[in-house]
């Protein structure tokens, strides 16, 4: 039983999921979830650990393909195109749908090479001058340019945790995606670094459709405009963030929001 608040189905939805289920072997991790993701808002997935919100997020760029035992059923559309269709190239899908992981995972290369990686493999920029522009633009958008512009040749792994995560965000936006998926992007960071990431999400929203998975309800309340609450592999309630936090319809959502469990 899923409660979806009024006006949440959207003709202009960026991502449309219908009856999506995910299995790990014989285990059902996600059970028939349908959702529309709007291009103009930040959408937050909240819920207790193990509720399947990260698994569901990883459906949008088919990262579940990399797990041998995982199987996805149902329909997922990006701009009306079925992402599981034969003519959908997973390489191009992932260029359009970027991802930021829970733990910062910069490549063991220089800061410059970390950003240039995506544009190079997709052939967006070949010449050094073009790459320079992309690197500066991406780092500026990620709010990291001023901190690293004098040491672009230093290793990406030498940065602090918060800087590494912003580097990963810059790396994701370097290929100019349409959607950015964030899987608990601040859970490994201290409060100051977390605040910077949240600020950044705010600045990036509008330019990119952003879907963020988070453990922290305060974070969801701060950064998102839409919130979906997941529990035991099912989506329980989906609505405007303000409604979900102040006026939830479902009893389970209320219990979770008020901290009765989770």
């Amino acid at each position: 039983m899923t409660v979806i608040h009024p006006n949440m189905t959207d003709e202009s939805a960026k991502i449309r999921a219908r009856d999506v289920s995910v299995f790990y072997g014989d285990n059902k991790a996600i059970d028939a979830v349908s959702i529309d993701i709007s291009p103009n808002y930040v959408t937050a997935f909240i819920g207790p650990s193990g509720c399947g919100k990260s698994t569901f997020l990883r459906c949008f760029n088919r990262m579940n393909d990399t797990i041998g035992t995982a199987r996805v059923t149902g329909l997922i559309e990006l701009d009306g195109e079925d992402i599981h269709a034969d003519r959908m190239d997973v390489v191009q899908l992932r260029a359009r749908v970027g991802m930021v992981f829970q733990k910062p995972n910069p490549f063991p290369k220089s800061i410059y090479e970390n950003i240039a990686y995506g544009p190079k493999i997709h052939g967006f920029a070949e010449k050094k001058a073009d790459l320079d522009v992309v690197v500066e633009r991406s780092l500026t958008r990620a709010g990291l340019w001023d901190e690293v512009k004098d040491r672009l040749d230093d290793s990406g792994t030498a940065l602090s945790g918060g800087q590494q995560q912003r580097l990963c965000i810059a790396r994701a936006i370097a290929v100019d995606p349409e959607v950015i998926l964030m899987d608990e992007p601040a859970s490994a960071l201290d409060p100051i670094a977390t605040a910077k990431i949240e600020e950044l999400i705010d600045e990036l929203s509008g330019r990119y459709a952003i879907v963020i998975v988070t453990h922290s309800m305060q974070q969801a309340a701060r950064v998102s405009q839409r919130t979906a609450f997941f529990h035991l592999g099912k989506m329980v309630e989906y609505g405007p963030t303000s409604d979900i936090f102040t006026n939830p319809i479902e009893e389970r959502t209320k219990d979770y929001i008020t901290g009765r469990y989770g």
Binding site: N61, M63, T66, G68, V90, V91, Q92, L93, R94, A95, G98, M99, F101, K103, N105, P106, F107, P108, K109, Y117, G118, I121, H122, C168, R171, A172, V175
Partner: protein, 461 residues
């Protein structure tokens, strides 16, 4: 006089000590917590047993060396021994014969003169056998008894037993370390002797190798001991040709097995690959010498290279490379598995293909570990002996043509130390100098490689 009897006696006495120790410890088990003994009965039992077995084994070790000498002394003191020739081959033969008969390993004497010695031998052997048994039992009773008397409820038998176990383990590891040091010491000693005859500069930089085992040691010609052709042959076969074979094949199979292979395929292919590492090197050796080398020679002759040899460096190097493949492959496998999967996911999520991810992210990240693996493989290849003894040439040759015969350091060591050779001759001593150089090079390679691997592991923990 067999040590086995004594060891059986020691075991029996140890068991007796164990049982008596446990019996005594049981007697002071109490349900009153205030009187609870400090250790469980089994530790008291082991305490007594160890006090019996260790001194007895020490005595047996010493006795097995000492007893034959005592026997010999008493036989020589007997009147029959006065008849023996004063010294020399005959005397030794008679004594040996008499001893064999006395120990019932020979039916009867061949030389009549030895007959007289049989009785004194028999008598002496049985006398010392009895003495050995008596002393064994006495030591066991004395040590075991003392240990038994020390058992009290508050005696910390457990601590003592644990410490003894630790000492035994320490001793076992010391044996290995001391052996290594001993090998190193003897190598250094003989090398220094060699360098007293041929200067290190002549040895390390000379370009002609041809030790003359017939020349008198006084008239040594240092210019015949230039090891450069051997070092070159070793490096060319072990580090160049073998690595040209092993590095690409090893790395590619590791990449396939870690990144592409279905788990079921991997579970079949990986053990099969590792069988290569278990093939005895002598088998590789005759494969190289009897199968591959003639094929290479024939192929070379067919395309017009008439100088090609059946002892070509190419054959030995290729087979050695095949031998090294599992080594390179498993090191590369480990270092790629050590790269966090977050790195791989990050690259895939950027839209990189599998091969782009491997080439641009996984491989560079795993590179230090892979390089270390290759260094270990090189150190194994240049120390490898059997393949080159069978397939490479015994004659040193300084050339870059892989179809010509070449010799290696290990081949020369085998050649110089087999057969009858005077231990003072510079040709024999030069084998130790070669061994010393080889030892230092492989030691350095291993040392550097292990340090690199260690630092690499830390980087991802």
């Amino acid at each position: 006089m067999s040590p086995i009897t004594l060891i059986l006696i020691a075991m029996g006495l140890g068991l007796a000590g164990w049982l008596s120790g446990r019996a005594k410890a049981w007697s002071f088990q109490s349900s009153d917590p205030a009187l609870r003994s400090a250790s469980r009965p089994v530790y008291h039992a082991w305490y007594v047993a160890l006090w019996v077995v260790i001194p007895v084994l020490a005595f047996i070790t010493i006795w097995s060396v000492l007893a034959p000498q005592l026997v010999m002394q008493s036989v020589l003191a007997s009147p029959a021994a006065a008849q023996l020739p004063a010294f020399g081959f005959e005397r030794d033969a008679f004594i040996g014969e008499a001893r064999a008969v006395a120990q019932d390993t020979a039916p009867a004497v061949f030389n009549v003169e030895a007959e007289a010695l049989v009785a004194p031998f028999r008598e002496a052997i049985s006398r010392y056998k009895i003495i050995g048994i008596i002393v064994t039992v006495l030591i066991a009773l004395a040590c075991g008894g003392l240990a038994f008397l020390r058992l009290r409820p508050d005696f910390r038998a457990r601590t003592r037993v644990e410490r003894t176990v630790m000492m035994i383990l320490l001793l076992a590891s010391l044996v290995a370390i001391l052996t290594t040091l001993g090998i190193f010491g003897s190598l250094v000693f003989e090398t220094v002797r060699f360098f007293g005859i041929v200067s290190p500069a002549d040895f390390l930089f000379g370009t002609f190798w041809g030790p003359d085992t017939m020349a008198s040691p006084e008239a040594t010609d240092p210019s015949r001991y230039g090891a450069v052709p051997l070092f070159w042959g070793t490096i060319f076969i072990g580090a160049v040709i073998a690595m040209i074979v092993a590095i690409p094949l090893g790395l590619m199979s590791a990449i396939y097995l870690t990144q592409y292979a279905h788990p079921r395929v991997r579970s079949w292919v990986k053990p099969l690959l590792e069988i290569l590492a278990g093939v005895p090197t002598v088998v590789y050796g005759y494969f190289a010498a009897l199968t591959l080398a003639p094929m290479i020679r024939d192929a070379a002759v067919a395309i017009g290279i008439t100088s090609a040899s059946t002892e070509s460096a190419l054959a030995a190097g290729i087979v050695m490379g095949v031998m090294i493949i599992p080594f390179v492959s498993s090191m590369a496998d480990d270092s790629m598995a050590a790269v966090p999967s977050a790195m791989r996911d990050g690259s895939l999520a950027m839209g990189a293909t599998k091969s782009e991810t491997i080439r641009k992210v996984l491989f560079p990240a795993a590179l230090p570990g892979i390089v270390a693996g290759i260094m270990l493989a090189v150190s194994r290849a240049i120390g490898e002996t059997m393949i080159v003894v069978m397939a490479a040439s015994p004659a040193a040759n300084l050339t870059a043509n892989p179809l010509e015969p070449m010799s290696t350091v290990t081949v020369q060591i085998v050649k110089l130390l087999t057969g009858e050779q005077s231990t003072d001759h510079p040709a024999t001593l030069s084998a130790f100098a070669l061994g010393f150089v080889l030892f230092m090079v492989t030691l350095a390679l291993n040392f550097i490689a292990l340090r690199v691997v260690k630092r690499f592991r830390e980087a991802y923990e």
